[in-house]
Amino acid sequence: MRRLPDRGRVDHGHRVSFSWDGRTVEGLRGDTLASALLANGIRVLGSSVLMSRPRGVVGDGVSDPHAFAQVGAGDATEPLMRMHQVETHDGLAAASRIHQGILPTGADPDRFEKRHAHCDVLVAGGGPAGLAAALAAAEQGARVILVDDHPGLGGAVLGEDLILDDEPADHWVRHAEERLRANPDVTVLTRTTVFNVGDQGAVALMERVSEHVPADRRHGRALRRLWQVRTHQLVVATGATERPLVFADNDRPGVMLAGGVRGLLHRYGLVPDRCVVFTTNDSAYRTAIDLIGAGVEVPCVVDVRPDPSGPLVRRARDLGIEVRTASAVIATDPDAEGALAGVRIVGLDGGAEEAVACDVLAVSGGWDPLMDLHHHVGGQARWDAEQLCFVPEGTVDGLRLAGAAAGVFGTAACRRDGHLVGLVAAEATGFGSAADGPAAPAAEEDHAGAPADFVVVPGTDPVHAFVDQHRDVTIAGVERALGSGLHHVEHLKRYTLVGTGTEQGRTAKVNAGRMAADRFGLPFAEVGVSNARPPAQPVTFGALAGRALGARFDPVRTTSIHPWHVAHGAVFEDVGQWKRPWFFPQGAEDMDAAVLRECAAVREAVGMMDASTLGKIDVKGADAGAFLDRLYTGVMSTLKPGRARYGVMCKADGMVMDDGVVLRLADDRFLVTTTTGGAAGVLDWMEDFLQTEWPDLDVWLTSVTEQWATVAVVGPRSRDVMASLAPDLDATQDAFKFMQVEEAVVAGMAARVARISFSGELAFEISVPMTWGLALWEAVFAAGQPFGITPYGTESMHVLRAEKGYFIVGQETDGTVTPLDLGLDWMVADKEFVGRRSLRRSDMLRDDRKQLVGILPAERLPEGAQLVEDADFEIPVPMIGHVTSSYDSAALGRPFGLALVRKGRDRIGETIYAPLADRTVAVEIVDPVIFDQEGARRDG
């Protein structure tokens, strides 16, 4: 195509230069990639992926089935960018890749942001309908967001030469925009696409923030921004898309949509040399009229209708344009590149084929309201047999359509419709009354002649006539599918792939559905088209992820002591969102060495551990004890103030849910501790029962997990450390017993000290407010120096507890393990508690359930090793259990572990086997308590 020096909305005085397939190309400021290439005579954009046919620009908007390119270089390259949306700028690099893109191979250098917003009325589409809707709603006082995916407002007006109120429609657009921008409660977002509509007015927009600017002028700005809007009302004024016609070689570069040809003229000043128009309706006559006005040769308009007669037809005839009625284009002729050189025209009632030379064929098969956003939330459509298109059927709550998207096609009529819908939307959200609102602007009746019901040119070559140009689906392909017995458009889609391409078959689906209806003689309304799903336009994964990357992906939770752990070389373990020290290697130690050393220190001297991540819940009220009795398998109400008790909770199905120590701080106050991972769940669980089952209980729950930092001081020398830390606290066995709780001053800090042990050793857990945690830790570390105090991590903690046969929720349990399976019969009190009834189900009473046992394997096993009865077996072999925990024990000087084994307690003393990939290991079953069975070490 060529550029007219005085036409279009581009800046003719400002050239930009960019690269296309490695060569430098010039365009004008205001050009898109598509218009700039056309202006440079580049008609062939690439070739189709299946059939390798040359393909070119078809329209002037995002429904174009071929105008895609790989844009950007290096790690910022992005595949399948809409050429009509890519604004050219200096330094832009683009390459021909129309159907299959290439992903970058490194991390994305660009920034994608998100923003939340709220409004009363969100208007999608800034054409006459959308502008009028936004204005009307805003003037009623509503908070309005108006969104359009073009760089400027005006919609179709920018691609046409339209008159509104006897002036160019542009004037009205400019005026409307000024009024909107002056209103502080209106946000206008251009270069922004509404891509997803969800429930209760959750609407997602994608703004192209800086990609139209040369990279060196972006200054760290986001490339794109995802807006998450919550709106009360959504007005969908997204316009309509033009439908092509189906005939042989209709995919040739140069065969374009009539509205697109007009758009290229009015937006970019681009015109063909000779243009034939082929239409089923009046709208395409505008193309002929406008092109003649621009000095372009229009040999003829080919109209399938026998006697077209609307005002536009008359005007065209008045301008001397030849109108060939009852005719059609049946095929096209190529030039050397395979692009369009001419068309073959036939009379529909017979007659010879005639060749007419042209470089562009402007086609119109009618217009389809763009209702995607309405479909996202289940909106329905019906076939309008007069306008020959699907129009919205009813509305979905909170969503209204306006203008061409609602099947209203005249410009003034669109403006009027938008105004009325804007008023109604405002009223629905509590602003003004539609009846008393500002009067609607007038709209003349639309005098367009009736369009023809026509899709496929009869007699055309079916093997080269494309229904879905993007997916290379031809008439022959569709017919073969229909001929094989398929009746439904959704099957047709999945068999032929019609409508599954990058542009989702916006120009293909209606025609394909129409062909199915015709073939089976069914009403089109019944057959319909394959459905639309979000997003309305593709959105990059990176933009959906936004800034939730790295440290912002998921909180890294740490305790106030964490800086010390880092400074002392701890290796961390992820426990839920928490980072916990796993072990503290010294020098070149590996984990095994570090853990052996740490465990030995605890058993022989003293160790210290950061236990702050455990969940803590303050339970207060007269009924606190009774409440806990109903949730724990054991009894808590009999606990004396100043004492602590270990407890286990079950889900209603009787499976172990969580465990922890419960401290009674006062008659009416308990402190419940939970596992690190279980904290939030246990509180929710407790609140659930309290609020919904037992609201009459006098109990108040408060999470205090992060109020308290806790340091465990563990080992035979821990009492010595306490003596030095808290000289006023009598920590002798008589004064401070196992499971006793004391308030004390520790290292000058007000603290709570409890004698709780998860290792079997004499141990003290000291808690201070979280902000004091680090100070406490450092004080303990200093005070412990004379005794060789050794910080240890979760791994050693796990070894030490396993030596004592203590289970870990989530390690020994997996949702299928009851307290009885764990050998906790002594903790299952004879009273009602949540889950108790489940323990009586027949499967729970089976005598061959898996039970927790200790194991002494011949060598250290991997956790997760399965256990079988005999050393000799053939696969498949029944498994009788698996290893849940497995370690080297410093205290025992050998490997050991815990396992769940069928009838395990009866098998103590037996040998079973763990088959590994390359060998089978003998495993002796022992009591779960392997170390210090008599519990002699607990009191030091």
């Binding site: 790690d75 289940g378 499967d843 991997p862 090793a865």
Partner: protein
């Protein structure tokens, strides 16, 4: 050149579109993959000739066309492993048996482990799989990288990859093609596939099923199999019994089409990602399940956003891939994340449901045992444990915690 030479589907004939007869020996309710597979094996293995599949929409319109097509059999518990492995073996012969290109591609399935708990449970599953005769390997992070170079295994990641289980025989198949293949095979064996026929009532006389009320009129039936996935509860209610099923939205998405970047299936429970690249070149990803009950076949965009930030952890350079289309299915979730296949309180009425987020892979096995159950009135050994009565006894097959259960 004839464009159809490129077409994936190229069968001269698929299936008839008959009107229902007034009565059938057996009727399968639900023309999804499991329903079609059931009818196929009823005809093929059990010689039934007077059978129909009745489908409220078009066959496949439920979860069949919506799933991310992951196939594997590396489940933890013996009962599950046996069922899914049986299915996998059938998959391995299906392209030939059905004489249709279903693009079954055994490209390997990785289940990533990101913390010590994952590692332990993964190793447990690998060991269980091996002893059950299911191929399974444990890979460390380096081996993961070797097997699937695009996965980011850097230790600085928020949740670094600590290793993965690999089932080399796992992979994907083209879901749509399986629908066409099964529909054609059923039709060829004389099964009436009746579409646009919604079951609206189930006739039960003296505790025994006698027929169905449908939008195309009553159909008498000697035996009925309910194979309706997300809508199973609604059908059971028509027959007067309840199922322990909740129907949730599960979303999935595809990207646009790219040159090949991903050679296998990658799943991560901890980071909530599962992805493969389909044969056309689109990336297929599943999202997390939406928490609430729904029959609307859509979920929230926030679930997809979360999924994408999770995806960026594992595949930072998928940042410029683009979401082309998202959709939701209705998944029938059982309390123990295992299916229900077997008898119901109503005589001659059988149920097959509860496959939830992971039933595509089971298709051949599910149809096989369901056909056996309908034909003989007794469960097959493989589905005996998956009975409706297990909820009373507590004999659950809990695949939640341990087995990387999603898909």
């Amino acid at each position: 050149m004839d464009p159809n030479e490129h077409a994936l589907h190229n069968a001269p004939f698929l299936w008839r579109t008959p009107e229902p007869k007034s009565s059938y020996e057996a009727v399968v309710v639900g023309g999804g993959l499991h329903g079609l597979a059931t009818a196929y094996y009823l005809a093929k293995n059990h010689g039934l000739s007077d059978i129909a599949v009745v489908e409220r929409g078009w066959i496949g319109n439920g979860n069949a066309v919506r799933n991310t097509t992951i196939i594997r059999s590396n489940y933890l518990w013996d009962e599950s492993a046996a069922m899914y492995e049986h299915a996998l073996k059938l998959w391995e012969g299906w392209t030939e048996e059905l004489d249709y290109e279903i693009l079954f591609s055994q490209r390997g399935v990785l289940n990533l482990a990101h913390n010590l708990h994952d590692v332990r449970e993964s190793v447990r599953r690998v060991n269980a799989n091996r002893l059950n005769g299911v191929d399974a390997e444990w890979l460390d992070a380096e081996q993961v990288k070797e097997f699937c170079p695009v996965v980011d295994i850097s230790p600085e990641a928020r949740y670094p990859v600590m290793g993965a289980t690999l089932q080399r025989r796992g992979g994907i198949a083209r879901h749509d093609a399986v629908i066409f293949a099964l529909g054609r095979a059923c039709d060829a064996l004389g099964v009436d596939i009746i579409q646009g026929c919604e079951v609206t009532g189930i006739d039960v006389t003296d505790g025994r099923v006698t027929g169905l009320q449908t939008s195309k009129g009553p159909i008498a039936a000697g035996k009925v199999g309910l194979v309706a996935a997300g809508r199973s509860s609604l059908l059971a209610a028509m027959a007067g019994f309840d199922l322990p099923i909740q129907s949730h939205p599960l979303q999935a998405l595809v990207s646009e089409v790219y040159e090949q970047v991903l050679n296998c299936v990658v799943m991560s429970n901890a980071v909530h990602v599962y992805v493969s690249q389909a044969h056309k070149g689109e990336l297929v990803m599943g999202a997390g399940i939406d928490a609430f009950n729904s029959y609307a076949q859509r979920g929230g965009l926030h679930v997809i956003e979360e999924q994408m930030s999770a995806g960026m952890q594992l595949f930072p350079h998928f940042s410029r891939a683009r979401l082309l289309r998202t959709w939701g299915g209705i998944v029938d979730v059982c309390p123990d994340a295992s299916p229900i296949v077997g008898l119901t309180p109503v005589e001659n009425l059988y149920v097959n449901c509860g496959w939830g987020t992971g039933g595509f892979k089971a298709t051949p096995g599910s149809g096989y045992v369901m056909a056996h159950t309908i034909a003989t009135g007794e469960p097959h050994e493989l589905n005996r444990p998956f009975s409706l009565t297990r909820f009373e006894t507590g004999e659950l097959i809990d695949e939640h915690g341990a087995a990387a259960v999603a898909h």
